[in-house]
Amino acid sequence: MNESRSIKRLVIRLLLMAVVMFAFGFALVPLYDVMCKAFGINGKTAGQYEGSQVVDPSRQVRVQFLSTNAVDMVWDFYPKTAEVQVNPGAVTQVLFVAQNTSNHAMTAQAVPSISPAEAASYFHKTECFCFTQQMLQPGERIEMPVRFIVDRDMPADVKHLTVSYTLFDITARMPPVAHVAKNGG
């Protein structure tokens, strides 16, 4: 019958549409990452910065550092310097301290976030402990560097940046070391 044939064709198309939209839901994941990276939104920073810039001596920006332990993370984790005044374009290094206070070896991953979010794409890290994972033996303590440049083109109304790191215990989900490092912060 002609009618049942056309119903069948329609149903197949509609089912296909449902499958495509299911896939689209998952496609939102990489799409979201791309958008965040491209627009520097949501406080997400890009990976390692390769360039260098000329120092702008006429302007100073206050950069403040925060550290947070994710839930169930026992390490001591804090910035050695709470805040610095920097000139845009200049390379500045600060140190963060982490100590494994537990009685077993643990691996951690720090995830950075910049506030205000629109400044995130103007905060370049030339080196950061958040690019790698940290594996510490019981009681071991390390000092971890962050080297960064505040971009000369950062909007003038941003006078104050907050760089916040959250430290996660990823011992349980360990193996692929390179994986998280690639996502870089």
Partner: protein, 531 residues
């Protein structure tokens, strides 16, 4: 169109024109669109009472400041389950039930296009909701993370029962998608000769568009809960910052589903009201074509406004502006609809039977909900309103007098066709007025406490909000009790009452009024001719 077509007159059709099977198995095995529509409607009403009883727990706890009746943990489960059950269990199945009953009758089709799938999509629902409600009795309790189930509340910090919640959502999603496919296949393939697309009643049009929305967004919701499932059990990090994911991503995926979802819950009500107002105004609908285009425009816009639910998560200024203006744009097609309804009534010979009362209240109160929506759309103002009772007032004003009053109006309008009896007009009007007063008493004060800063989803609150909350609670008890009265009215109508003629409303128009009341088990086995 007014002539009654008697299907039983043709001897050649006798072996096809059998009645329903006997006994319980009739309901389990039925593929008849009227049986399935009836089951959907009863199911949705029972869920309405269950979700409503959860709301009563909420309002009882909020009757006074301080903690009196329930623990905060249980209170959270009540707010969550109230939302989930009302959205997925009451409103959506009610519209699917109306679609099952009325679409074939309105377009002159003998049944839905895919009757067996129709049966399956209904019977998935009791299974899904049994699973969902059973979580309340599990160790650790049921879902307590709000009906929007934001990660990480619903992943990292969720109770153990969250997996049952996820599978329940999957089942509901499959049911909705199958229902939507069925509606589209029916409308596009089974229309009677002469029933062109632009002759279809608006209820059919709105359901066609709603069905496409369902197929577009229910799979995204399924993907969203699947990601949660994988985060919880399979070590992925879609929404976990520790593994490179992002909880804000959850909100984007959820609201990409969630915003079209709110139109899924209102568009069929638009359609029903567009049938009811012309009937009791005794005038054809004003601006039919613009109504169709307005619904299509609203459906399209619903896909590009989702982030207005997320103004405070830190999206960039351009984003805030885009989503703000796109949201405000929705007021244009919605305004077209409201003005068309008002113009339909203008200089009409109005009578106010119960369906018309609900429909007029729908137009007025839904507009109030629309206006508070416009207020919330203003991004800088939303920072103040976000997560307050103002939001609760807003979405209850569009859902209760919008979706629910639309369903009540439809039920009273078509009850004579379904049961063969007229409902008791006095009782119907009483039901309307009690609902109207109760509903406004419950939700109007919420605007004030919200603007004053009372946060939503709290079991306790500051003393300054005490009086308004007590008013809200009293209104809620009134509204809740009134709905049991509605159950009484419906049962009374089924059991007896003045016999309904084929066309009980003198201003009504449409194929459903050409068949006798109650509608025979099989209708339009020979398609009617539409001129």
């Amino acid at each position: 169109m007014s002539a009654v077509i008697d299907d039983h007159g043709h001897a050649g059709h006798d072996e096809h024109a059998h009645g329903p099977a006997k006994g319980l198995m009739r309901w389990v095995l039925t593929t008849n669109h009227k049986d399935i529509g009836t089951m959907y409607l009863w199911f949705s009403f029972s869920m309405f009472l269950l979700g409503g009883s959860f709301a009563m727990v909420i309002r009882a706890e909020l009757f006074q400041p301080g903690l009196q009746i329930v623990e905060p943990a249980f209170f959270n489960q009540m707010t969550t389950m109230h939302g989930l059950i009302m959205v997925f269990g009451a409103v959506m199945p009610a519209f699917v039930g109306l679609a099952n009953w009325m679409i074939p009758l309105m377009i002159g089709a003998p049944d839905m296009a895919l009757p067996r799938m129709n049966n399956f999509s209904f019977w998935l629902l009791p299974a899904a909701f049994l699973m969902l409600v059973s979580t309340l009795f599990m160790a650790g309790g049921g879902p307590n993370f709000g009906w929007t189930f934001y990660a990480p509340l619903s992943t990292t910090y969720a109770p153990e029962s969250v997996t049952f919640f996820i599978f329940a959502i999957h089942l509901m999603g499959i049911s909705s998608i199958m229902g939507a496919i069925n509606v589209i296949a029916t409308i596009l393939n089974l229309r009677a000769p002469g029933m062109t697309l632009m002759k279809m009643p608006l209820f059919v049009w709105t359901w066609l568009i709603t069905a496409f929305l369902l197929i577009a967004v229910m799979p995204v919701l399924a993907g969203c809960v699947t990601m949660m499932l994988m985060d919880i059990h399979f070590g992925t990090s879609f929404f976990s910052a520790a593994g490179g994911g992002d909880p804000v991503l959850f909100q984007h995926v959820f609201w990409f589903f969630g915003h079209p979802e709110v139109y899924i819950m209102i568009l069929p009500a638009f359609g029903a009201v567009s049938s009811i107002i012309p009937t009791f105004s005794r005038k054809p609908l004003f601006g039919y074509t613009s109504m169709v285009y307005a619904v299509a425009a609203i459906a399209f816009l619903s896909f590009i406004v989702w982030a207005h639910h997320m103004f405070v998560v830190g999206i960039p200024l351009v984003g805030e502006l885009f989503f703000m203006y796109a949201t405000m744009l929705i007021a244009v097609p919605t305004g077209v609809k409201v003005f068309n309804w008002v113009s339909t009534m203008w200089q009409g010979s109005l009578t106010f039977e119960t369906p018309m009362l609900f429909a007029v209240a729908f137009v007025i109160l839904f507009s109030i909900g629309g206006f508070s929506g416009l207020m919330l759309a203003i991004a800088p103002a939303d920072f103040q309103y976000h997560d307050t009772y103002f939001v609760v007032a807003h979405f209850h004003y569009v859902l209760v007098p919008g979706a629910i009053f639309g369903i009540f109006a439809s039920a009273y309008y078509w009850l004579p066709k379904w049961t063969g009896h007229m409902y008791d007009e006095t009782l119907g009007k009483l039901h309307f007025w009690l609902s109207f007063v109760g509903m406004n008493m419950t939700f109007f004060p919420m605007h004030f406490v919200g603007l004053a800063g009372m946060p939503r989803r709290v079991p306790d609150y500051n003393l300054q909000f005490a009086d308004f909350n007590m008013v809200s609670s009293i209104g809620a008890f009134l509204f809740g009790t009134t709905q049991i009265f509605f159950l009484f009215i419906v049962i009374k109508t089924i059991r007896g009452g003045e016999p309904a003629p084929a066309k009980p409303w003198d201003g009504a128009d449409g194929l459903e009024w050409t068949i006798p009341s109650p509608a025979p088990y099989h209708t339009f086995t020979t398609p009617p001719e539409v001129k």
